[in-house]
Amino acid sequence: MSASQFEPIPMLSSEPAPAPAETQEAGGEGNPIRAAITEAIAEHKVILFMKGNPEAPACGFSARTVAMLQSLEVPFAAVDILPDPRIRQELSAISNWPTIPQLFVDGELVGGCDIVTEMYESGELAQALL
């Protein structure tokens, strides 16, 4: 188990968002948080939005989901949604899913802790992460 098993992404850097050249997507005047989330989902094969980070999950459901991913030894990106309530709002608006954690694989929502648990137990998760 290496330390590079996951790659945390700071969702909110202090730098101002670059002027959105071509954001026609929801938000109208450009929504940097939504754009950053969409981009992160697109750029990472496996990405987990969670409370806390993989080394210090701040919720039991997030902790369990991290543990399952780690036990499959799959590299995954992780985003802590706690630092700014807008992250969760925008994420749920994008995914149409109300709870945290949320696991995305290949740009698609796989589910929250319950679905990930069922898929882990049935072996489907390992398949999905190949």
Partner: protein, 81 residues
Amino acid sequence: MPSAEDIKLRIEAAIPGARAEVEDYTGGGDHFSATVTAAAFEGLSRIQQHRMVYDVFGAEVGGAIHALALKTQAPSTINTH
């Protein structure tokens, strides 16, 4: 503060043919787990099934209802042990 029974009744009222078993697993009225079996789930993905249940509660999930752990199944996929 909803009770497990409230949650159960609301799920069963909102989803056609649903049967729900709901547990308030902390006793605090805000963390529930539910197993829902519904004919309406037939042919839907797990994501879609869970969304149907979450949709019953709208913004309450994540708000007044801190956690709603779900297990959903269509009647035809129930394992007989």
